[in-house]
């Protein structure tokens, strides 16, 4: 496939059709094994989280058989084409140990931070520890322009499950047009362009940010202890943007899979089902472009808020309310209207996998070189259960993760999944989590 053809294909995609295109790294840039660039730099490993709200129906989602080649139940059907690349975890729990079950909050925070939170609920809350994407991006994200990208599909920037400890979420990009401009606007440097000249204006901007850090000491002296942590987070953010600017001053490494399409057209945003799905696919395509162009190594996608407001157009009741109000159909054994949204959520995750698996990199695909942690905040949302949380990990981290297994945690804390991910990504952690969620036991079955 010629360079020109791929560009055209991608442009077609960005006009709104849902074609998924492969963007292979030319073999020229790879060494003989197809696992490293000719420069000797290995193909980077990427990390993502993918969140959906309001859980699953246990009997229709979790496989019965453990290990490789697990059986696919109806709600997991959309991931069947990727079964060998998706690990499913069952019987991993949010262990509250006396902490409150904060509805639509405790479950997701336990899995993502390794700590059951103390404050929050259906509208969000505070976090005792940073979410795993922050820890991972501190480790693998410093070399790219953006440490991470936060994305949400219902038009609300506050919908995000990425946060440092405290109550400030990393807000989500919700508009594909805005995201496109942030990623590929004037500041974007095509990694495959031959010429490069650092911009002195960027250096000045960097010196302004560097000087802002001088304000720190005086602030710490004058404020109360609770505010000192917020001051420090502010300066951590300043430092990150300073580093971001630093990357604009260096000639970017070539990335042959990098092809930038046109700016997407303006479109409606919101929580109606079809709109949110289209937004997901556009944001997802842009995230895939950002990953393959080395603009970031980490992303977080939230399909909706945990107490999901996804809704069918014309239907007075949204997903979250349905889970609580809709009776279980005796014949079917589940709530049919709520289950519609569970099934569509899994289809949307399948769409994300398809986009990532469509990008060829070395001997595999972008998906193979990633780990995507997909989870929800509850098992059965109707009763807010946080035992047996639905958790998947897609990809194989460039061969460091043995993909495609169904593994039971036998009631262990769900933080074991996060600890395993961190260890597989090469982070020097031997334990993770707080209180009853603390674990020192990675899931050895998936570690290559």
């Amino acid at each position: 496939m010629s360079h020109w053809t791929r560009r055209n294909l991608l442009r077609g995609m960005m006009r709104g059709s849902a074609v998924v295109v492969g963007l292979p790294l030319l073999d020229l840039f790879l060494d003989g094994n197809g696992e490293a660039l000719a420069s000797g730099a290995p193909i980077p490993t990427r990390f993502g989280t993918w969140f959906w709200g309001c859980g699953v129906n246990t009997a229709r989602w979790f496989p019965s058989q453990l290990g490789k080649g697990y059986d696919i139940k109806p709600e997991l059907a959309p991931i069947a084409p990727y079964r060998d690349k998706v690990s499913v975890f069952s019987n991993f729990n949010c262990i509250l140990d006396g902490k409150p079950n904060l509805v639509h909050w405790s479950g997701v925070m336990a899995t993502l931070t390794g700590a059951a939170p103390l404050k929050g609920g259906v509208a969000g809350g505070t976090s005792e520890q940073p979410t795993i994407d922050c820890l991972v991006s501190d480790h693998i994200g410093a070399g790219t322009r953006f440490r991470s990208l936060e994305l949400a599909c219902t038009g609300q920037t506050g919908v995000s499950y990425s946060m440092r400890a405290g109550s400030t979420v990393n807000p989500s990009e919700v508009d594909p047009v805005q995201l496109y401009r942030r990623l590929f606007g004037a500041e974007f440097q095509d990694p495959n362009k031959a010429e490069f000249k650092p911009d002195p204006a960027v250096m000045l901007r960097q010196s302004v940010l560097s000087s802002v850090k001088d304000d720190r000491d005086e602030l710490l002296r004058s404020l109360g202890s609770a505010d000192r942590q917020r001051v420090d987070q502010y300066f951590t953010s300043v430092r990150q943007v300073e580093q971001q600017l630093g990357h604009l001053l260096e000639k970017p490494a070539p990335a042959e899979a990098c092809v930038v399409g046109r700016e997407p057209g303006k479109a409606e945003l919101g929580p109606t089902w079809d709109v949110a799905m289209r937004t997901h696919d556009l944001l997802g395509q842009l995230a895939v472009m950002a990953l393959s162009c080395n603009q970031t190594r980490v992303f977080n996608m939230a399909l909706s808020i945990a107490g999901s407001n996804l809704r069918k157009a014309g239907d007075p009741v949204a997903f979250h309310e349905l889970t609580h109000e809709e009776p279980i159909d005796e014949k079917l054994g589940y709530q049919p209207k709520s289950t519609f949204f569970i099934e569509r959520s899994m289809e949307t995750f399948g769409s994300m996998l398809k986009m990532m698996d469509g990008v060829k990199e070395g001997a595999g695909t972008l998906l193979d070189n990633s780990l995507i942690l997909a989870t929800s905040e509850s098992n059965f949302a109707k009763i807010h259960s946080v035992d047996n949380l639905p958790i998947m990990v897609a990809g194989s981290a460039g061969g460091k993760w043995k993909a495609g297994q169904h593994i039971s945690g036998n009631g262990d804390p769900s933080s074991r999944v996060g600890l395993t991910i961190q260890q597989v990504l090469g982070m020097p952690v031997t334990s993770w989590g707080d209180g009853a969620m603390r674990t020192t036991k990675p899931i050895s079955e998936v570690m290559a």
Binding site: V208, S225, G314
Partner: protein, 565 residues
């Protein structure tokens, strides 16, 4: 609490007499200090660190650089904590992507300010030369407005150094100043309201808020914007520690046209109006709804509030009964009332006739449609919760996590026709009944108004039963509820609590209870005039109270305290 209100009658008479002359309607003329010595103290907290919200940021920039400045970029989302965004502002920080946006904004604002001649430069150095004294003068002046306090010498010289470097690289003095302004705009001293406390020589061992920090508290309370130069000058002179001079500043601010914005901002926060952003209703079910109608609904209530409380210096409680409002074409169609010629093109004053089912802010679309969690129907639970939490300052507990709804749902007959029928299940389940008894009776009595505010008598062909009870007293419909609220002592007590919390940026604590009861008594003696309340708070030692920086103790929450009494 009632005892305190009654004991306040002694000075109600004094201020009522004073109220007959001009401005004194807002400002009782007797010496506030004499009274404030009698005022109980509050639980002093360490100085605050509050992120400017989007509107405050924009308003401050416009105030400092002129109204033509365009402020670009996305702001981190606001956070509502314990009833107020103003409290949430004191718990958030800025994410990395947020800093990215502030950096972009700072550059664009600085460029516009320099290009548009909004920054007067008292020197014109030769091309390629840098006049450090002149740069220091310009950046010091804007630095003081942006930081809301004078810059220390070391702070200013660091900013001048940035300007010198940028001037050198660009061979332009103006470009240097632009970078300096950009640096000031990126500082947490601008993006946050940074407070300081100082030892109070008049109370050995005690602390108070530093004068400039107090100037900001007053200015954001009354204008929802940064203090102007006159206020900063007053702070620098120590005027804010002299009661008569403090009152003069506060009265000047209350008389300013900016005060109207301050009142709008307070009620925007207290009534949860950030939820209007992105509010959606289902088009098939509510064809009249669109984002313009939502904007109009918000504006209508804010106009009604300003007219009653600012223009007419009215009684806060009358917000629940007044038939006087403003209307435009879109709202006329929603309320099914004729709109005068003035209202066709814009806003016209309007008084609902007594045969219309409208009166008081609860009956306006600004309350009735404001539920972002239900796009296709009204939710009596949410409406009841809103009344409890926002208007009465009574937090409703979260639903229990492990309720088994299967026990209470009639699987064979899921289609209940009215909300009252649907919600009966809550009352029958002991795990739900406690909290739903707080919310549902209020919300169900408002069911004659659908999710956008249309009046209706039936839902799904079944007649709506709009009877309710509030604090044990029965009533019928929205008018009945509004009358109960108009009479409830909790309603004025709540607005006093919220105004105090809004001013100090923290939730009321147990140690504030005596002061709050005292303030509620004063509010009653001021005949519940909202501007009198704002004046009392702005001039009160309670607003200026501060603890030294240091470990924060967890105080017993005021609500809990109040319930335990």
């Amino acid at each position: 609490m009632m005892a305190k209100i009654k004991s306040g009658r002694a000075f109600w008479l004094a201020s009522a007499a004073a109220g007959l002359i001009g401005l004194a309607v807002i400002a009782p003329v007797e010496d506030v200090t004499a009274k404030s010595t009698a005022a109980p103290s509050v639980a002093a907290a360490p100085p605050g660190f509050r992120r400017l919200n989007e509107a405050q940021y924009i308003r401050s920039v416009e105030q400092i650089f002129g109204p033509a400045i365009k402020v670009p970029g996305r702001f981190d989302p606001p956070l509502r904590e314990q009833g107020l965004l103003a409290i949430g502002d004191a718990t958030v920080t800025v994410s990395a992507s947020g800093i990215e946006q502030y950096e972009l904004r700072a550059r664009e604002i600085a460029a516009q300010a320099m290009a548009g001649g909004k920054v007067s430069v008292p020197c014109s150095p030769a091309a390629g030369a840098f006049d450090a004294a002149c740069a220091g003068q310009v950046l010091g002046r804007f630095g003081r407005l942006l930081y809301r306090r004078p810059l220390a010498n070391t702070e200013l010289s660091a900013v001048v150094a940035i300007a010198a470097n940028a001037a050198d690289v660009n061979h332009s003095f103006a470009k240097g100043l632009e970078a300096g302004l950009s640096r000031l705009l990126m500082s947490p001293n601008f993006i946050f309201r940074v407070e300081r406390s100082v030892a109070d020589p008049r109370a050995p061992g005690g602390y108070r808020l530093e004068d400039h920090a107090l100037a900001s508290r007053i200015s954001f309370l009354l204008w929802d914007s940064s203090p102007d130069e006159a206020m900063l000058d007053a702070a620098a002179r120590g005027d804010l520690r002299v009661p008569a001079k403090l009152q003069r500043q506060v009265d000047r601010m209350l008389a300013s046209p900016r005060y109207e914005q301050g009142v709008r901002s307070f009620f925007f926060d207290m009534f949860g109006y950030e939820q209007f952003r992105g509010l959606a209703k289902d088009q098939a079910i509510y064809p009249k709804f669109n984002s313009e109608l939502a904007r109009d609904a918000q504006e209508q209530t804010l106009r009604t509030i300003v007219d009653l409380l600012v223009t007419n210096r009215g009684d806060y409680r009358d917000l629940f009964s007044t038939r006087k409002t403003f209307i435009n074409r879109g709202l006329g169609a929603l309320y099914k009332v004729p709109v005068s010629a003035a209202g066709v093109d814009g806003w016209a004053p309007y008084t609902f006739p007594v045969d219309q089912p409208r009166g008081g802010i609860l009956s306006l679309a600004g309350f009735l449609m404001l539920d972002p969690t239900h796009e296709g129907r009204s939710s009596p639970t949410i409406r009841g919760k809103t009344v409890r939490e926002l208007l009465l300052c009574q937090p409703v507990p979260q639903p229990p996590p492990n309720v088994n709804f299967a026990l209470v749902q009639d699987v064979t007959n899921p289609l209940y026709k009215t909300a009252r029928q649907r919600l009966t299940v809550h009352q029958e389940n002991p795990a739900c009944a406690g909290c739903h008894a707080l919310t549902d009776p209020i919300g169900l009595s408002l069911e004659n108004y659908d999710a956008v505010g249309n009046f209706r008598t039936h839902e799904n062909d079944a007649k709506i039963d709009a009877t309710g009870t509030f604090e044990g007293k029965p009533y019928t419909g929205l008018t009945g509820l509004s009358q109960r609220l108009r009479e409830s002592p909790e309603v004025p007590a709540c607005v006093v609590q919220r105004a105090f919390e809004y001013g100090v940026g923290r939730p009321a604590a147990g140690g504030d209870a005596d002061w709050l009861e005292f303030a509620v008594g004063q509010f009653a003696s001021d005949r519940f005039r909202f501007s009198a309340l704002m004046r009392r708070i702005a001039t009160s030692p309670a607003l200026a109270a501060a603890a030294p920086p240091g470990p924060v103790t967890t105080a017993l929450s005021y609500d809990k305290h109040r319930r335990n009494r």
